[in-house]
């Protein structure tokens, strides 16, 4: 019972945040609503017992990635988005199609799938176990992703650096 209440609480927060992300016209509001979504998702994770995932979710997503978004929004001083009608396809095909797909999946899940009910903390994912898995069974993917991150860092630096910056840096140094 309590479980269901908490689930609904966090779930509603999630959906509210997601919808707010859509309806808000200022990117910073969208960003904050996304932070809400992530925080409440962390709650859902806790309900499912994935405490480590929840913590990392908060730290990485809410604490780092979204801060980055906010930072960029502030940096570029992004204002309200103007309602340009660039693409009819997106509205006429995409949205209905997406809605159809979502409704179908939801209907299938609720009506047709006999998924079991899960208790609170159904699968406790404590740091030790996760870490063990991460560094034993999934060592190779782990290393590969680390390389990916390295490449991403380099790419970001290369992209964001001003064209003239290297030259000036040389002058100073």
């Amino acid at each position: 019972m309590l479980h269901l209440l908490l689930f609904l609480l966090f779930g509603l927060a999630c959906v509210a945040g997601a919808v707010n992300l859509l309806v808000q016209r200022h990117p910073i509001n969208s960003a904050l609503s996304l932070v809400v979504v992530m925080g409440s998702l962390a709650g859902e994770y806790l309900l499912l017992g994935a405490e480590f995932v929840a913590a990392i979710q908060v730290i990485v997503y809410a604490g780092a990635i979204m801060v980055l978004f906010v930072f960029v929004i502030m940096l570029l001083n992004a204002g309200e988005e103007e309602r340009t009608s660039g693409s009819r396809v997106a509205l006429l095909l995409g949205v209905p199609g997406m809605l159809i797909g979502a409704v179908l999946v939801a209907w299938l899940l609720v009506e047709r799938s006999a998924t079991p009910a899960v208790a609170v903390g159904a699968l406790p994912g404590d740091p030790q176990t996760i870490g063990w898995l991460l560094f034993h069974n999934y060592l190779l993917p782990f290393e590969v992703t680390s390389i990916l991150v390295l490449i991403a860092i380099l790419g970001a630096v290369a992209l964001a650096s001003q064209p003239g910056m290297e030259a000036s840096a040389k002058k100073e140094g």
Partner: protein, 349 residues
């Protein structure tokens, strides 16, 4: 084990106590800072209100409350109002995870000396909440629609995100030694002594976390926007940084949030590196129960004093120096510390 109602009651009691203590501590940290810095600079500091100006914080509080709370035009109102609350809320929430002593049993109810019962990822949650604190600063800077504030917010967000990494990595060494995220377990892992006289604190342990400790300390200053890293509110460059446009209670919230954060990181430091509340205990039960809290408070006080000391001593960094220092010095050092610790532990086991 407590019943649900008992639990709620106990929790509320603990929350009230903790908040009272914390806010008082915040107020008197301010007083302490003014006094110490004053004496360092060969001044008196606050003396008028009460003996040694001991009532100065109260006066400040009253002043804050009765000031007119004005909202500049053209601000993004909801966020402008929300920002200080966000910072204060997260600053206070972080404390909730901090255990300040062992277990205490009052009237047959035994409960840990922390608002929350033991959470086995307590440290992670503390870090998470601390990392959320940046939103308050950033949003304040952005929403108050002023270039000083905006720059302050930008600096704050960039700086905090950058130093968070070094901060987190500096702690990993301790985590390896303790093998747990649970703060209480970490503290208990440090109980005892080497050869009878050296306390088994992490900074003395083998491998010693002294490097990690220093890195943590430095990063913590940056996280809390304290000198020498208080770029976001550098008076000389950006009037008052992100809270330029704030006044009265909103400003006070930022103020309190900053000092609360200081206390939080101080608590973390003493828990992780200095053996938490470990110390000689003797006497009747109640004293046995409360002495550790005293030892703990002592450590925290030392840290706060160091904060103030540094502030009175060191000049402010330039922004590019700040970033370069964080990325090019602190981070590598933290990683090196982590690697060495991991290697030694791995070889030892």
């Amino acid at each position: 084990m407590l019943s649900i109602t008992q639990f709620i009651v106990v929790s509320i009691v603990k929350i009230v106590v903790a908040l009272g203590v914390l806010l008082t501590a915040v107020a008197y940290t301010v007083w302490l800072e003014r006094k110490v810095v004053g004496h360092m600079q060969n001044r008196w500091g606050p003396t008028r209100v009460g003996p040694f100006g001991l009532l100065q914080p109260l006066a400040d509080g009253v002043k804050f409350i009765f000031k007119e709370d004005l909202t500049p035009p053209h601000v993004h109102k909801p966020l402008y109002i929300a920002a200080p609350m966000i910072s204060l809320i997260f600053a206070l929430t972080a404390i909730a995870l901090i255990p300040v002593g062992g277990w205490i049993s009052v009237a047959g109810l035994s409960t840990p000396l922390a608002i929350t019962p033991d959470v086995n990822i307590g440290l992670l949650i503390v870090l998470g909440i601390a990392s959320l604190g940046v939103y308050g600063v950033a949003l304040a800077g952005w929403s108050s629609n002023s270039k000083y504030s905006l720059l302050g917010g930008l600096r704050a967000s960039a700086q905090m995100v950058s130093y968070e990494i070094a901060l987190g990595l500096s702690l990993v060494g301790v985590l390896i030694l303790a093998g747990s995220f649970n703060l209480r377990e970490i503290v208990e892992a440090q109980s005892g002594t080497f050869w009878g006289f050296i306390p088994r604190w992490n900074i003395f342990a083998w491998p010693p976390q002294i490097v990690g400790f220093l890195v943590y300390l430095t990063a913590a200053y940056a996280e809390t926007n304290r000198l020498p890293f208080d770029l976001p509110e550098a008076e000389t460059e950006l009037v008052a940084g992100y809270h330029t446009e704030y006044s009265a209670m909103k400003f006070a919230m930022f103020f309190m949030a900053e000092y609360a954060n200081m206390i939080t990181v101080a608590c973390l430091a003493s828990l992780l590196f200095l053996g938490g509340w470990s110390g000689p205990v003797a006497g009747p039960a109640i004293v046995r129960a409360l002495l550790p809290v005293f030892w703990f408070g002592l450590r925290v006080f030392v840290f706060l004093f160091i904060y103030i000391w540094v502030r009175g001593t060191l000049p402010r960094f330039r922004y590019d120096q700040l970033m370069a220092f964080g990325w090019k010095f602190l981070l590598p050092v933290a990683i090196a510390n982590l690697i060495i610790t991991a290697l030694i532990v791995a070889l030892r086991s």
